[in-house]
Structures are given as structure tokens and as C-alpha cells.
């Protein structure tokens, strides 16, 4: 009886998961249309664009999917750039390094250690920790 209940719950979860996926794919199309609008809105006001004295960063959101993976990511927008690299040293440990800055003489760097774990075939967890970095902003 309990096994029947569990399989019933599992099938419900599968339907829910498929529905979430369909919605996300629909939202992808909407997102593609919204990005130019978003850029336009941001460009109409400097107050939302200029990085200030404390540099807001784009955190390094990483997922290792390969054995001894090495990856490089570059991301930017009108007011910020990031170049980040992650290296998997073992099945649970890795290191990352990155540089970031604004386009108005702001600059920073980060080096971090990574612990990562694939909990299930759909959920991945990672924690990064670091010290000894030196952001500078001038002008």
C-alpha cells in the first residue's frame, strides 16, 4: 500500500517537473524579447548604470560537469565585466580565480577554494570561500 502511495507521489512529481520545464522554455522566448527592452531602459539613466565606490560584482556561479574540468567564463554588460576561471582538482575540491571591474577605472580580483557535491542527478551544491583579494576603485 505504501509503495503504491510512493509511486503515486513520484508520478505527480514527474508531471510537476515537466510543467516547470515547459514554463521555463516559454519564459526563455519572453526573455529573449525582454532583453533589448531592459537594455534600453537601463541606458536611459546613468544612475542605474554607473558603478560607485564599492564595486558590485557578478558572483562566480559555477557547476563542474566534467572530470578534472577547467572552465573559463567571460561576462559583461554596460557597466561591468568579469572573467572567471574554475578548475576541478578532485571529485569534490576545486579552485577559482577571477578579475572584475567597472569601465570607469575600477578593478578587482578574487581567488577562492571550492567544495562541490552532486547531491542527486538534478541538484548540485557548491561552496566557495576566499580571502586576500584587492578591489580598487578610482576616478
Amino acid at each position: 500500500m505504501y509503495f503504491g502511495k510512493i509511486s503515486y507521489i513520484a508520478s505527480d512529481f514527474k508531471i510537476l517537473h515537466e510543467n516547470i520545464l515547459k514554463r521555463l522554455i516559454m519564459r526563455r522566448k519572453m526573455l529573449t524579447m525582454m532583453v533589448p527592452v531592459l537594455i534600453g531602459i537601463i541606458l536611459t539613466s546613468c544612475s542605474a548604470v554607473l558603478q560607485k565606490a564599492y564595486l558590485e560584482t557578478s558572483p562566480n556561479l559555477n557547476r563542474f560537469t566534467r572530470e578534472k574540468e577547467k572552465n573559463v567564463k567571460a561576462s559583461l554588460f554596460v557597466n561591468h565585466y568579469e572573467v572567471q576561471s574554475n578548475v576541478a582538482l578532485s571529485p569534490h575540491l576545486g579552485v577559482s580565480a577571477g578579475i572584475n571591474g567597472g569601465f570607469k577605472h575600477q578593478f578587482g580580483g578574487e581567488v577562492a577554494g571550492i567544495f562541490y557535491e552532486d547531491f542527486t542527478d538534478k541538484f548540485y551544491f557548491e561552496v566557495q570561500g576566499a580571502m586576500g583579494i584587492l578591489p580598487i576603485s578610482r576616478k
Binding site: 558590485e56 558572483p59 556561479l61 572530470e67 567571460a74
Partner: protein, 165 residues
């Protein structure tokens, strides 16, 4: 940075202009837990970066000037300086990647305030200071609250489960 257009009006003729001066140097210690929900089609990552910042030096002043070419104009100014102070900040972030090398990422920032300084609005007539008033307070360190980036990722390494021949 001097007299940058601050609104659409400033791009045409009259409007608001922004000038500022920054000389800041700080160090960070951070810890960043991250969770990723992934399928064959999508990677959805959520993280919260927790920073402890130590400021060796902090200097930030700005001036927002309304209609600077007019006889009668306003300046809003604020200035903050401090040294050897700690502050804490949180940067929650979301990344979405549709089984491609391209990704979109949004992050937010909130931080504790170290130095609250007054914002002063000055009224100039014919180049002379006519009157001034307090126009609120500015929390420092000053920063953006929202950041959006578009990125590209390259991966190297052997795919999991594949056996080398």
C-alpha cells in the same frame, strides 16, 4: 569623472549632469554557498555571496548639477571619507543557462553602512551661493543595488562516464 549626462535632457541641451571623484581601496573575505538545479535543457543556479570588507581607504564625493548653463541653478553634493573600517555585504545572485555556452546572470547587493553623510542641495544665482538645505542622507560605502550580465562559458575536460580508449 566630470559632467556626465545624468538624464535624457542632458543629452540634448539642458538637463542634469553628474560629476564624481573616487579613491577607494578595500579587501574582502567571502563565502558563497550555491545551489544548482539542472536538467538536460536548463541550469538554474542560485547563490548568496557573503562578504566581509576591510577598507584601507574610502573616498567618494559626487555632485549632481541641474541646468548648469542657466543663470539660476542647483547643485546636490555629498562627500564621504573614512579609513580602516569593516563592513558586511550580501550579494544574492541568479544564473540561467539554457544548455548553451551563453548565460544570463542577475545579482543584487545590500550592505551595512559605515558612514552616513548629509546630502546638501545648494542654490546658485549668478555663480554665487544663494541658499542651501539638507536633502537627506547618503549611506557609504555607496554602491549599485542591481547588476545584470550576459556571459559566455567554455569548458575543458573529459565528459563524465566516458572511458578513454
Amino acid at each position: 569623472m566630470n559632467s556626465v549626462p545624468w538624464d535624457v535632457g542632458a543629452l540634448i541641451e539642458y538637463g542634469t549632469f553628474f560629476s564624481r571623484n573616487i579613491d577607494t581601496r578595500y579587501h574582502k573575505i567571502f563565502i558563497q554557498p550555491e545551489w544548482v538545479y539542472h536538467t538536460e535543457k536548463i541550469d538554474l543556479a542560485v547563490a548568496c555571496k557573503m562578504n566581509a570588507n576591510y577598507f584601507d581607504s574610502y573616498h567618494y564625493n559626487y555632485c549632481i548639477e541641474d541646468h548648469p548653463d542657466d543663470y539660476d541653478y542647483y547643485q546636490t553634493i555629498s562627500s564621504s571619507d573614512f579609513r580602516y573600517k569593516w563592513n558586511f555585504s550580501l550579494e544574492p545572485a541568479v544564473k540561467i543557462q539554457f544548455h548553451s555556452k551563453l548565460f544570463l546572470q542577475a545579482s543584487f547587493l545590500c550592505s551595512t553602512s559605515v558612514n552616513n553623510v548629509p546630502v546638501i542641495r545648494c542654490h546658485y544665482v549668478d555663480g554665487e551661493l544663494h541658499e542651501w538645505e539638507y536633502d537627506g542622507e547618503e549611506n557609504n560605502p555607496s554602491h549599485l543595488s542591481f547588476l545584470f550580465t550576459v556571459g559566455y562559458e567554455l569548458k575543458f575536460g573529459k565528459k563524465k562516464g566516458k572511458v578513454a580508449l
